[in-house]
Symmetry: C2
Subunit: 236 residues, 2 copies
């Protein structure tokens, strides 16, 4: 079977469905998406291999998933550090930040410096709604993630990649190839250009929604909130 993917437009429509007819709140969905990301990190980088995780947080929903993941990672015993340069004024994001502050999770301003002393990176900068140019201050952050030897887990999309076309032909992100990708709800077309470990998360999609958007529900095991899949979409 071929891996079925969800275009940027379809992913946006699916999200709207979840929050309208699906009756989910953004708080719920972000909590479960961030939980998925934290479980994938736990799987690829057990805390015994180094507890320091640097989470790069973008200005939108992808960043919110990263903030939630950082909180769960802290509860698992990791020592996350958060880089969050463009903060949303939205109440939800401010609350997610406060929840991290209450766990003494440090927020840092210098991403390249923080990268020098971490064991793993979570790229939660841009998700399926990204298009166009990478705005400041993120070009240097993405370049640093492209160069580092520290493994990087991207949330939903390697940041700066075009959702349909994959890595940009030149400039920022053209040489950014994260080690791990956590696709939320369903993979996006960019996975064709991705060759690392691939997880699906977001265990809240109903069979009816999967059918409407033409993909199969992932075969999650037990109580897992993520499942690792191969290039053809089969469970690993």
């Amino acid at each position: 079977m071929a891996l079925k993917t969800l275009s940027a437009k379809a992913a946006a429509s699916l999200d709207r469905d979840l929050m309208s007819t699906g009756a989910f709140s953004i708080d719920q969905l972000m909590e479960l998406a961030g939980l998925s990301v934290s479980q994938a990190v736990y799987r690829v980088h057990p805390v015994t291999q180094g507890s320091r995780v640097l989470v790069a947080v973008g200005p939108g929903n992808n960043g919110g998933d990263g903030l939630v993941a950082a909180r769960h990672l802290r509860h698992y015993g990791y020592l996350p550090t958060v880089y969050y340069p463009k903060r949303s004024k939205n109440d939800l994001y401010q609350r997610l930040v406060k929840q991290l502050e209450d766990l003494d999770v440090p927020f840092v301003d210098d991403f390249p410096a923080a990268l020098e002393s971490t064991d793993h990176v979570v790229d939660a900068i841009f998700g399926f709604s990204f298009s166009g140019e990478v705005r400041e201050p993120f070009p240097a952050v993405i370049q640093a993630m492209a160069k580092t030897k520290v493994p990087v887990t991207s949330v939903d999309a390697p940041s700066s990649w075009n959702i349909e076309e994959g890595p940009p032909k030149s400039g920022t992100g053209s040489s950014f190839h994260p080690d791990v990708l956590v696709s939320l709800t369903a993979p996006k077309p960019l996975v064709k250009f991705f060759s690392g470990r691939h997880f699906i998360g977001g265990r809240f999609v109903t069979p009816a929604i999967a059918k409407k958007y033409g993909f199969d529900l992932p075969e999650y095991e037990g109580i897992d909130q993520v499942v690792e899949i191969g290039p053809e979409g089969h469970k690993l």
Copy 2:
């Protein structure tokens, strides 16, 4: 060490702290509490031992945790059925119901009849804010749970029990002894009277909150959202 417990008054205060200074939304907390309950059920009653789970849902927050747990159980492959006779008009509860309807989870009106054809029961009728009399239609439901041979998992408190004093001396609930209890955030004093399997859930409490309320954070394993403890409070 002795098991540290949280009075009804302290539990209410802790909940207020989580949602005020702690900056959590009720959606988030209920999602994580219900997830804890679903994981405890998965632990004590694997889906291979029978997939039918009857969830008895009360009118308040304890019921909301049950609605969330039912959804996660459905995603794990169980076939939950929900008894929810006194529905909240609150938007959150209506959304939690819609999320279950979208998964084709049936809602039933006749609890004793549903009890005849289930493999496990989740008691999410009353939690730490319960006091006084059990109102209709719940006395017969609690009596049925007291009599059944089907194992029962109670959420936060065996419904009808006094949070400090345990089972009522006579009448409804006096002979209700569930098999499993999932204490959320911390055990309540009623655990002195409980002799089944005991789990702690609610992996969102900060060290500062645990310190303020005089209990130790549970020693969760890995990514688990519940931990089973013994009568003295040690991890099993």
